[in-house]
Symmetry: none
DNA sequence: CCTGTCCGATGGTCAGACCAATTTTAGACG
DNA sequence: CGTCTAAAATTGGTCTGACCATCGGACAGG
């Protein structure tokens, strides 16, 4: 008699086991250094096969929560950086917050990225940026939202910093936000404003004005592409378009 | 006689498989969306049992690098933030640019993080930060460099932003830079300066002064923990083509 | 008390099997 | 010939039972 139907997503057994261990660790039932029961014993307790127990342990190990020693046993390990991160992410929401977090991270990263790009962009990279904006103009004239060119611009700007780590992180963030941005650009007026804003950024980058570029990007993110229209708290405000 | 005894860790088979996949993804042999061979086929190719293959896949899945769909297959997934972070950590250590990039990224992220922390830190988190600084003081008094507490401080500060994405990225960056920071703190004077600098940051965070916190962190990173020993200042415009 | 050996417990791996979901294919139908 | 449908093949998820290398502690011997 399950009054509440959980997500339709079928849980895999080992994932379920992992979450049970997360709970046990969070509640303090399992502390650092504790040794957990043998795999065969766990299998019996959870009423699953040893394979599932082992796959669960593999996940926990990759999260830094446990370490396995052949012949000795498997031990709780909550004194690593990894484990802290895992428990934090596990405690805080893992759903709608992600989008908000990504927006915030972009807002932190992009202005200084624009500044770095202004200092380091090669003529070829500037040309590439200009080309992208022309493409964006074409897409808009054609009635498209220009979201691809929009994303491409931010990515090319990150590339102009010549910082591989930054490029990777930005690409991940942009990818997560691309869908949301597409929605934002549905309003006709925004497309032109976004393009104009991009042009302003490029102009400062071209001039090598890193301060101006940073401010232009900040303005772009604050005014033209507002991060989170809805003030929703962690309530089940799933963005539209969620489909299994 | 203390001949350099290198640990002869036995590599577990699934660990080996995981690393092989890391390499394949890094080299570009496996791109986003690619479907990798069936588990039974992989078992035959690697000459291991299906169990080991599955445990390896479980690790990769927990790292966000792949997703498994029953009946369909297992697919490469490198467009999530998680996957980027893992690949960053996995890639680091290869190439001197990576270290420089990481320093630069930290310098971009940490000041605004300090500002966010000043706005959002709970009393418990402030207490945790203070506790970390006391621990740093103890370590220094004891003749240690205090590098663990140093890293812990930056991490706890990121945690105070309540932004899971930021926390993960910062943890990856801090992890990479911890070793280098340890070297930097070898100079005796630096330890106390670093601690004093941390105290200043905490003071601004406690006061909720996000502007002051940001400036204090910027000062900390610029003056106390300089990224590049050489003159390299961000002001100068880098000549084109300084990097392949 | 110390030392070396033995044995049970434990993690790591293997092989084969069945199930459920999905994809592909073959066949029926218009 | 194209389209829809049902059967077959494929694939991930799970289970069972087994063997091995290693570790820990008990135990006997010095």
């Amino acid at each position: 008699m399950q009054a509440q139907i959980q997500s339709v997503k079928r849980r895999r057994l080992h994932e379920d086991i992992v979450q049970q261990f997360h709970a046990l660790i969070r509640e303090g039932a399992l502390k650092h250094g504790d040794r957990l029961p043998a795999e065969r014993e766990l299998a019996e307790q959870f009423q699953v096969s040893r394979s599932s127990v082992r796959e669960a342990i593999r996940s926990l190990e990759r999260q830094g929560l446990v370490v396995s020693k052949p012949g000795a046993g498997t031990f709780i390990n909550t004194e690593t950086l990894d484990s802290v991160v895992t428990l934090l992410s596990s405690t805080f929401g893992t759903g709608s917050d992600a989008l908000r977090d990504a927006f915030e991270m972009r807002h932190l990263l992009e202005p200084p990225i624009a500044a770095l790009a202004a200092q380091r962009a090669t003529p070829e990279e500037v040309a590439k940026l200009r080309e992208i904006l022309e493409e964006q103009q074409r897409q808009i004239d054609q009635g498209d939202t220009g979201v691809e060119a929009d994303t491409a611009f931010h990515f090319a700007l990150a590339a102009a910093t010549h910082n591989a780590a930054l490029i990777k992180v930005v690409s991940a963030v942009e990818d997560v936000l691309q869908h949301s941005r597409g929605q934002s650009l549905e309003e006709p007026g925004r497309r032109q404003r976004s393009l104009a804003s991009h042009r302003q950024i490029l102009e400062r980058v071209e001039a090598g004005d890193y301060r101006g570029a940073q401010q232009a990007m900040d303005h772009h993110l604050t005014v033209v592409e507002p991060s989170s229209p809805q003030s929703g708290e962690t309530g089940g405000s799933e963005p539209a378009g969620w489909r299994p």
